[in-house]
């Protein structure tokens, strides 16, 4: 009799665990589908780098994204960074174009945790990521309006973060806050504000990445965005980076 009780209990717990996992997995897919739902998008952004003493400097960038795994960006200002570009492609491929050397460089996975042009974003942060494919999720807390989900990278995932905790409103499934951890130490926080719907897609007009140790911030202000304009694949090439 005891054995039967054990077996039933284990089966019940296992199925509950699987159900919970399946739920989180479905939830992550839904979050991915909201963040990556446009077929393509073109954005102009202003990056404001803010020191601990509130002194500011600015950069301008244009970025294009196609589907969930192609992204290309170019700096327009300041003058000493004009023309620097990056290209993120499927298979964890990241190319950087440095106009001073006229060379497109392959960036190895270790370098992706380096600062992206002096901002609080890393090259990895500028890449596309699909949470459902690269992370295992666990709901840490939940109330009527939000989920707080812990994301642990899968072994195959090439990321410098040991953990990401995201806060997702149930109404939009568009993450409003991300806390990045390295070796289980909270190192950076990304906040998304002024979220609005453009052409049925959610977009944050303002994103602020804060490095906790230095207190340095990078504010990313969205100046313009266009969705589903059938951006050609030609833009996601080294040829475009060099133009």
């Amino acid at each position: 009799m005891k054995k039967i009780v054990y077996a039933v209990t284990i089966a019940l717990l296992t199925s509950l665990f699987c159900y919970a996992n399946e739920n989180v997995s479905e939830l992550l897919k839904r979050i991915d589908s909201v963040s990556n739902s446009p077929k393509d998008q073109k954005m102009s952004m202003k990056l404001i780098l803010i020191d601990k003493d509130n002194s500011e400097s600015e950069r301008e960038i244009v970025m294009m994204q196609k589907g969930a795994d192609k992204r290309v960006g170019k700096f327009l200002s300041p003058k000493d960074q004009k023309g620097i570009g990056f290209l993120s492609l499927p298979g964890n491929v990241l190319h950087i174009y440095l106009p001073a050397y006229k060379k497109v460089k392959n960036i190895a996975s270790h370098a992706k945790n380096g600062s992206f042009a002096g901002t609080d974003f890393t090259y990895e942060d500028m890449e596309m990521t699909e949470f459902s494919k690269n992370y295992e999720g666990k709901i840490l807390s939940e109330n009527d309006s939000i989920y707080v989900i812990e994301l642990i990278p899968e072994k195959k995932s090439e990321t410098s973060y040991s953990k990401i905790v995201i806060t997702v409103p149930k109404e939009t499934y568009f993450p409003v806050m991300m806390e990045f951890y390295e070796k289980d130490k909270h190192v950076k926080t990304l906040e998304r504000k002024s979220i609005e719907k453009v052409k049925s897609y959610y977009v944050a007009r303002e994103m602020t990445m804060t490095t906790l140790k230095s207190g340095h911030k990078t504010k990313m202000l969205l100046e313009s965005v266009e969705y589903d304009t059938n951006i050609s694949d030609d833009f996601f090439t080294d040829r475009y980076l060099k133009e």
């Binding site: 000493d80 491929v93 050397y101 392959n106 190895a108 002096g118 080294d238 133009e243």
Partner: protein, 433 residues
Amino acid sequence: MKKILYLILIMPYIIFAGISFSGEGEALGRISLSNDPNFLFKKTNLKLSLDCDINENTAFWAGTDLFFDFQKGISDMSDLSEKGSFPETRISLDETYLSIKRFPVSFIDISVGRQKVTVGEGDVVSPVDIVCPDDLSDPLTFGDKVAKEILSVYAYAFNTEFALHYSPVFAPSLLFENFIDLNEQFRGVDYINDTVKLPSGIKESSDIFAVLSGDVSSASFSVFYGYTRTHTPLPENVTVEMVSLTSARADLEFFFPRMQTGGFSISLSAGEVGLWGDFSANYVSQTEYTIDLSDVGRGVIDTFSMKSKYFFNCLLGMDYTFPGGFYMNIQYAHGMRGEYGEEMMHDYIFVGTRLPLFNEKIVAEPLNMSYEISDFDMITKRGAIVAYPKITLKSMDNLEISAALIYVSATTGTNFSRINGYDGLELGLKYYF
């Protein structure tokens, strides 16, 4: 005349097209730290560039370099009353080219004019980067190129790029003083006259370089072939004559023989480490020359500048970024710029480091160094080391203030021995606008 022609060509675009101007001003001085401090090297220059988008697919780029030397123009009393001597100014035309995208068909781009084209995967240095000659005028700056008249055609298909660079004008490398020390090579000869023979006619002056490159997964590959010339001169004829009973004169003729180069480059990630390599096989058409010693009673000697007409060179590199953003790369090169022939080639290890601090407001490069191995059997006794730690302050956008220390220790017979005693302090300022 050439400059005026360029200006006439670009004038309609200046009037009618969208134009942006940019530039950079740079002042750099290296001061020796000996008992008698002096400038080892100094430059004050202003680069002015014009970027003109004629239409969506056509752009024109023009750049000039203005160099100033505040003392060089003064040599006699009359210069002190000559306004043009204060300072001496040199203007050189940098890259000036027209770039046409998607012409005549969508998968072809063309650019024509004075350009700097770089090939190879090496970081800053690469022995296969031979489309444009090197600017070696600054012995501590690697990777600078001399712009050259080139017609480049790029064709793109199936994630690969085919580039063909044709130049009808030969240009040699720009060398720093004493790059080829003739007094050392002709010790005992009192007078040395040298002439440098440039290839004549378009056929002889023309270079062609073809590169096929592409990506497979996260790796990049390229294969290349070049029909070019050596960019530093080799001797063609030497005549030694007695000018008196006790003194001799040597007449030297240098030339730039044809060179064929073929090879490949690769760059990839292995785990968390970035790896790259450049490999090339080279063939020099003429390496023999004669030394005419008839006048001193020894007849004509047949000799050679290289034992074999074939030689190989390569570069292997790896990089890694440590937690905290400390970037380090190490490169090994067999053969470097201006070295032709197996017996003339040395081996080099280059270390580059970069530590961004305070969100890149300060960039420290503490372990930048080069090590030259002239003879593996004598590695502990012969060689050269150049250390060049540097710190750059970028407290404002577009402004860089830098300070570096220079340490050179080289035994004779090494290439870096040309800059022995170059120890000093470097201060630099650069502004982009």
